[in-house]
Subunit: 328 residues, 4 copies
């Protein structure tokens, strides 16, 4: 029988209309496609999950990622990462950094390399942007998270960043995932806009399988049919990930909604839902931002968001991490 | 020119590739299909919204719905409706009612008429169920919300219920909407599983246009591609509705996720997001429920949910409404 | 054990990470929710389908529906139904009827009752429209298909129509489905815009379970994220339905795309994919249509579509049914 | 005024509820986010398309891509590319190649580099696979299409392939797109599983903007809510692309449905819908395939598919291209 030729055990469960056949011993590697192509097979149904090291079964305790300055992601505290979508120049970056630090963010998030839908949209400052990030990290004591958009770029990003971001469009870019798995820095992995939670965990498995256990997942909205919001922000992903995996997951309501007016309420909701952190787009002057201005808060709005998020964190027995300063 | 024949004004805005033509004076009634069929028209783009009385422009203050016993929906307080998916017998119903009242719910929600995907699934007790609801209302002082599944049934439901539910599968059943609009009781209108927010508001407009201003909207999850949850619970709908409409909107995390383990976190998130109420499935013995047991809390879980929801409400300056008892 | 208390047999299949338990003897009636609520249950997976009489297992031969004048649906021939979205007046209706008959349609499809998203959109002529349909049937010999939008209206529609349409918004309106199941006329059941194929088949099962075996399914587009088309026309539904059910399925590219320019190509594709019929919106003057003008062909375009569809039908060994005339 | 500061012209169209403002002179580069962030702006609505060189406005004639041996893509003929998902060994590849050539395919499609959801799934033979492709091209005269999964790999793929494939998971991998745009070979660009048509065209614009006009688009199914098929095969994409762009578009019913039993009907439908080519997974022994076996045809099924596709192509005035042999 074909199943046994593949080296597995077959256990039939006959029913009146159909016979179910349990397959044991496959450890996630059986190719469902080979089975569904066999004559007489109506459907292949998975019982075991295809990922391994990222699963709760592999490690029942939540992963806690240690960053410089004593910042941790994944424990009782909630880490806030904030900053402009794109680095535009050093003044803008420093102004944003000071504003988000003063409001209580622990990490500065700003893009030097920007993956854009259109080749004619602003693509970021590149290496010059990374240098600005390094100087602003020095000046403000904020930890840095910034995106690498290809395997070649991972090294340069890892030299500067405390956390390397892999963006939604690259969630299944396996070359980038593997390279990030060898970069020696934690990775913030954003959910693809059409990725299931299982695919998100499999993408994380690519990084962990290369020897890097420090993966922070991020819900940032998925595709849906209602044009009211840019994406559909899937807050139940937080609980689903926590049930299946020991990895931390943070929430990005800026991309998740695409609407500045919805960001504060969705940030509060994410904290209430158990998110391990927030990623918020903040720009000193959103109306002048070179990208994503419509979903970006100004510093005053961000301070108000932080004021609202703190008591919600406390209501569920957690707290918003305070910025520590990397030089201390 | 065709636009003027339709009685509207046409204002051209010539561009390099295309000419945009603004149409003024249409008051939401222009048939886009007639325009898109005209020769030389590449696309019809709406600027004005097609709904009227449910819009913020029609009434800038939030609607506050007055129910017996001083319960209000839509102001600063958050109303909790809870109970079993289906009424199974009077003991089960009373036991559930007492449990949810003691935990702090103001309204009992239980189904006498059940719209089910399969004709072989339990379809509810019908009129006998309504009689049980009337007696349990009398005994417990809880307000009643229960579903009408067709225009004929609205009268019988309105005799017993304080709020008439129109379910997701019937959100665009215009005969039912119109009849509910003349029923003299507030209506809880659940979002269809593939309905845009605009379509939800248009469905509400059907009810309001018949003279019934008391419409409570409800987010209960929409269709998406990830099988992790039964539906995708769209919490940003709360903020979107509040931006467009003066009507209150509540959240149903039980249907919204379909998973008992996710309900508490999503209930907290809904409160944090600004929901005007919660709809929670609670059964004395969920594992014996005739329908929806997998997404139903037991009384102890529901009490815990209420304990967690209260400080979150307070953190955003609101409070969970206390049960008042309709006889007082 | 709980499964045996429910009257079923439990057959365990132990694996390394999880134990699968086969349940036998349930005949589609086991409540998955009761099982998923049990302690230690991670997931409930269905093997048997929940519908019965509409399944291929129930009847392996395709259902062939006999209509007056020798028209059949579901055999080797492909039936074309065409006409205006709404009946506007008798002249328009007759003009459309003559045009579609002359191009080769066997059935006239036109709406007397129109379910619309907005209460301010044109809602149809109602009973006056049905009278016009009866007269036009008499004059042209075309069979009639028209929509009933509530259980009360089924009788009046059944008096005039050869086939009663249940629209996409009402696919899960169980009162309407049950009433249509007792109407004594075949039913054209349109897929809901967020309905899975399984839900479509369960809705059909409601009709068949009332004793009416004459159900014609219809794919008309489902919700998706790309605004390029009004709906996403799911042509694979045709093959999926044919694999699971003996019922015929036709395709409606007018609603399925919402774009007049795409209708002919998608009609050809539907025929090539094995559809048992086509439903095409045709209006003598689409640019003046009171509804759906943007997706409606004019008579010349429809004649061209018919000319293109015929050789494609022949290429797969089928043919487009010729109009017969009900009086003959 | 802000719009004029950005260098554009502003043309107001006042309405009763809102004022629309037309912006002229932006040539697709206005950042909508900057506008939607401005006070008093309710919505930003695009009139002009953001892509340029791939648009019908840029070039009204369809692009015809010339390949070795006189094969053309994008004219009246329909090119069939077929072969196994993965190259497993040289015997399997050669056997598949001979089978698809004998059935009438012009191009061999087989993967040396495989982007997989799971790091534990078979990842392809890599450079060894490319060498096998080169030898099989020599022996059979078939043109080769194979995938590059990162920018580094483009050169090696371009040395062997007649057409470089960019896969669905990499549709927005801008580093890969730019590199493919400089590779000197035509590019087969598959639509991402959550990509709108507009995003697909923008991804193509990345390639064309680097100086490579030879882009072949490919519809391969998008994400949807119905588990009946692996993806939802969007055949209307063919007509939508042809309306907006001069680039050819082919269809991949193997990935588009994920079901071997649906592939022939959907291939026929794609031809009827106007596709400029087909991409079909064929394996000498699908039940032994290392990947995608469940959606793969065997040689006999593929020959039957080709026999059915030819008369459908003729019915719409096109023809299936015959294999020419690259050595001739």
């Amino acid at each position: 029988m074909a199943i046994e030729e593949m080296g597995f055990e077959a256990r039939p469960v006959p029913g009146r209309q159909r016979t179910a056949i349990g397959i044991v011993g496959n450890e996630g590697r059986a190719e469902p496609a080979r089975l569904s192509g066999l004559p007489g097979v109506a459907e292949v149904i998975h019982v075991t999950r295809p990922y391994r090291q990222v699963s709760r079964e592999w490690c029942s305790e939540p992963t806690i990622i240690q960053l410089p300055g004593g910042v941790t992601i994944g424990g009782g505290s909630i880490v806030v990462m904030a900053g402009p979508c794109s680095i535009e120049n050093e003044e803008q970056l420093l102004e944003a950094a000071v504003a988000v630090r003063d409001a209580g963010a622990s990490m500065l998030r700003a893009g030097a390399f920007k993956p854009r839908s259109s080749p004619y949209a602003f693509q970021g400052l590149g290496l010059r942007g990374l240098e600005m990030l390094a100087r602003v990290r020095e000046e403000t004591g904020l930890l840095i998270v910034t995106e690498a958009i290809d395997a070649e770029g991972v090294g340069a990003v890892a030299d500067v960043a405390d956390v390397i971001q892999v963006g939604a469009r690259n969630m299944q870019n396996s070359s980038l995932l593997k390279r990030a798995g060898r970069a020696g820095k934690p990775v913030l992995l954003k959910r693809g806009m059409a990725a299931t939670i299982q695919e998100l965990l499999l993408a994380a498995e690519y990084i962990v399988a290369e020897g890097n256990p420090g993966v922070i997942l991020c819900e940032r909205g998925i595709r849906s049919f209602d044009p009211s919001t840019r994406y559909l922000f899937d807050l139940s992903a937080i609980g689903v990930v926590h049930a299946l995996s020991h990895l931390p997951i943070i929430a990005d309501p800026s991309h998740g909604t695409g609407r500045r007016d919805l960001v504060p309420a969705m940030a509060r909701a994410a904290v209430a839902a158990g998110a391990d952190g927030l990623l918020i787009e903040v720009h000193p002057h959103p109306e002048e931002a070179l990208s994503d201005g419509g979903q970006t808060l100004d510093p005053a709005e961000f301070r108000q968001l932080m004021r609202e998020a703190r008591p919600i964190a406390e209501a569920i027995g957690r707290r918003i991490a305070e910025p520590t300063g990397v030089r201390i």
